[in-house]
Symmetry: D2
Subunit: 311 residues, 4 copies
């Protein structure tokens, strides 16, 4: 057993015993009913070695983590002209705030707040029907992870659609500014299905390898995005990946990362490892309480922070 393997197991054990676990999202029943005692972690090294502990093989709802994959696909579809419709700055406000859209004329601050990811979903729709756009996304994520078992949880997608009034407001609001080209219902159909992807930590860390490896899927050697684009997605994850807690995450953890309201976080140590953690309880900023703590400890024990001097 390598040192890293020991560190990962250690952290899983510590998290299993942690008393203060945050509060799971409660806005839809399928998220509210997840057992808060769960904790999973998976670390995939650059050479492919996998370290998985706790509930690291149990699927959970990746929610906003999907925004990394939909952004990657949308950039592939329309290239940098995407940035005429979405900004690249931290928002300074809650993930679902509509205020910024009013003052900035329907252009979301970045692709990782809800409004921004709704625009990327609009781009993914392109000339396709919603069903096809959803299918493309599922195939993309399965290919990234090399795992055909990944699925979309229809119960989650339906629950989102039944209660997603705020997202419906965001979508219509952007349409009023001409920054949504398809009917809000179609766009949100795509959006909610992306967010309803169910993946385990292992699958998620596998899917994130291209961001660790300069845009290449290290298993297949295929280029997913250019090295420059991989760096830029990492930069966006660092500055915007944790909503209005992004500064805090950079400060404590020091890795590009993207969190989801299901309690998962995907983090990347460029050149070293792709990492996924999961624990359903959230902190007051809406990011996984134990997931963040686990990453903070992992980085402290490995020296993987991108702000650390390289050797």
């Amino acid at each position: 057993m390598t040192d890293l393997s020991a560190i990962v197991s250690e952290i899983a054990a510590e998290m299993a015993a942690a008393p203060d676990r945050g509060t799971p999202a409660s806005y839809i029943p399928p998220l509210a009913s997840v057992d808060p005692a769960r904790f999973g972690i998976a670390v995939i090294e650059a050479d492919g070695t996998a370290h998985v502990a706790g509930d690291g093989d149990m699927p959970f709802s990746i929610q906003s983590i999907s925004k990394v994959f939909s952004l990657t696909l949308a950039l592939g579809a329309v290239g940098d002209q995407l940035w005429t419709r979405v900004g690249r700055e931290p928002s300074g406000s809650a993930f679902n705030s509509i205020v910024q859209l009013e003052t900035e004329h329907g252009i979301p601050r970045n692709p990782f707040i809800n409004a921004g990811a709704i625009v990327t979903s609009d781009i993914l729709l392109g000339r396709n029907a919603p069903r096809e756009a959803i299918g493309e996304m599922l195939r993309f994520v399965r290919a990234l992870a090399g795992d055909e078992a990944i699925f979309i949880d229809e119960t989650v997608a339906r629950a989102e659609q039944d209660t997603g009034y705020r997202n419906m407001a965001l979508a219509n609001y952007m349409r009023a500014f001409g920054n949504l080209h398809h009917p809000a219902e179609h766009v949100l159909g795509v959006y909610f299905h992306h967010c309803a992807l169910a993946m385990s930590c292992r699958q998620l860390a596998l899917a994130g390898r291209y961001l660790m490896a300069g845009g290449i899927n290290p298993e297949t050697g295929r280029s997913i995005v250019s090295a420059q684009r991989a760096r830029r997605i990492n930069a966006l994850m660092l500055t915007c990946g944790h909503y209005d807690g992004s500064g805090e995450f950079a400060f404590r953890v020091g890795l590009p990362g993207k969190s989801g309201v299901g309690g998962g976080i995907l983090a990347v140590a460029p050149g070293i490892a792709s990492i996924a953690v999961w624990s359903p309880g959230l902190n007051e900023r809406g990011n996984s309480q134990l997931g963040t703590l686990a990453l903070e400890r992992l980085v402290a024990r490995t020296g993987w922070s991108i702000f650390e001097p390289r050797g």
Copy 2:
């Protein structure tokens, strides 16, 4: 001549010839009168090798770059309890916005917007007179750079004080919330003198070495801050160092950096180099137009981005 030396000279030559140079700050005469044709660069490698080109030895007003040094000093004085008075999140608004202070009860979003640096100046005042707090800061920066020639430009300091109504508003506003302990005039005296530090790119890059080197001044071997604190300051520079253009800087350059309205930028490639660039013309976000471009090219040609896979 090493490759790096060639790259630095090349970039200096390209920037000297660049047609679109932005617009120098005009709010005080000493800044407005600086020649927009200037461009300087200095790169100090981990082993101490220095590469300086263009106007890299000409002093300029470092302005907000001083906030990195005053934060370092203030953390030394009061430790992490500083974070009860200043946040760690990107602001999502202009460097001198007062709106955020109203909604967040007088707590500035981070130490690099004006309001945040006014609070760190208040901390530096401690039980000292303004004159002593200013002297301490000057000694600190001289020691970091190993250069006693560094000085405070009194003309700049006075001009700031004569026109600094907005900063006076920010200071009084925070005092109304109890987040300023000394009279606004005293605190701003300290603040404006910090910002009026005149340094060359070479001096600035030398002063920034501790952030490249895990908190150690590599010349003297003395610890300036702990390795953890150095990482955290780097993280703050990345997420908040360029006001409401921080996301863009991370996206394009990919290094922790802090800009000043005088046209300077201090950037850090952890373990590799401390870098300073200077060109007075600013872009629409208030950051040096050519300074940013120069750093973008330096990183593209060296692979120093912190979002790049490590080898």
Copy 3:
């Protein structure tokens, strides 16, 4: 010919010749295509005497003026508990702003901004189908005016529905806060049909008589609302009836009034007259340019301002 009749004719003549007429609303074709040369005025005195001049018998789209009538109906349906869902304060922002809804948790500031009128439409839906709620409103306005010729312009209603993304956003946003009880599509169906009421100045001034007459329709003697409620609706018109130009209207004109983006204004001189003016060109606040000017002159020449000493 009485003096008043002369004044009304005079004003109509002045307005017909006015060079600076503002700009008609352009967001839907049926409004954009109205002839900006139009001007109409109707003054109905307490004793029933009518003074109509210019295009005072030509129907136009009353748009937001309908919010006075829908508020009256909704108060009749649920009484003062309406005020738990809608505020009574001027908004300090544009008629279709969504910002205020975020900071005030889905409660619109007053019933005359779009969000507020969407809530009153939701109340009018009650247990009815949209078609019935629309029919009830049409019957109510016809009865107030004593004119069965008043109709809803389906072309306008459809155009609104085709482009009403911002209102769709407002409706969904309030539904996210639980302040909309019916599906947004149904509520907006009602809302857009109210706004699409086509009325002439004469019909509008007739319909507004109950607000001049302490809640009584002076023609029939029937009580429409209590005297207290009539006063209160007048007060709301004065403080909130012209969006973010309400203060200006009170300052210049000094009568309770409600404007619509079709260029109409209904104004009330309590105990004296019910007044309607119409000219399609709007000022920068979205209120009829000549309509406001005409009312200013009418009040100056009659002494009808409510801020004038009573004799």
Copy 4:
């Protein structure tokens, strides 16, 4: 004893017994220490008849009510060009909010929020020393009331100055936009002394007679302002006189009125009466709880609402 006299006495008795009295302002000791059991009322009829009850002859700190008098003086000094520096719209936010100033470039929304009254104080300074501007204001109010006993409470003025950081912020902020021509300290010296005027309900109602009487002091027959200006000041009081509770006051009371944080309200029934009430406890909007209730009952029993049909 007339009916009105009976009504006034009745209301004073009811208010003396009212259980829910609100909470006095606590930000400075001289206001915090006022006895919350106090209630005073004075009604001056157009013919000069005075009805005074309760503590109607006890002086209290008029605070923001002074903004009516300073506006009147400033309009006398510079005329309508005042409106290039101050708006005429309700603010939709708290009396001391700074947010609006940022989005509207240093132009306060109206002369009755703090920022607006600071600008009118700047105008009153003109070419005078602060002491002279304060003296002019005191003479003006004494002349209006016909009572040389009116004084400025220096204890209150000093307490304001010692804690007025937020007003200092507002003043400096406007100076940054060029909308303050004198040093903030001087302007606030004038402002705080105006607010520190101590007057009884009787004195206040006497001082307000010109607003009831078309701009004329009915006692002396001298014109204070033109009839048009008197109407316009009344309109501003109605739309903006109770901060972010102005709509509510118009809704419940229906008279132009201006409140102060000392618990006083000056209200005007044009042509009928000038009214002052005082009770130190404030409601959640910062307006006198019992003062508002007393005026609501007075208007209900007299029919003086300006929204009532004239007959």
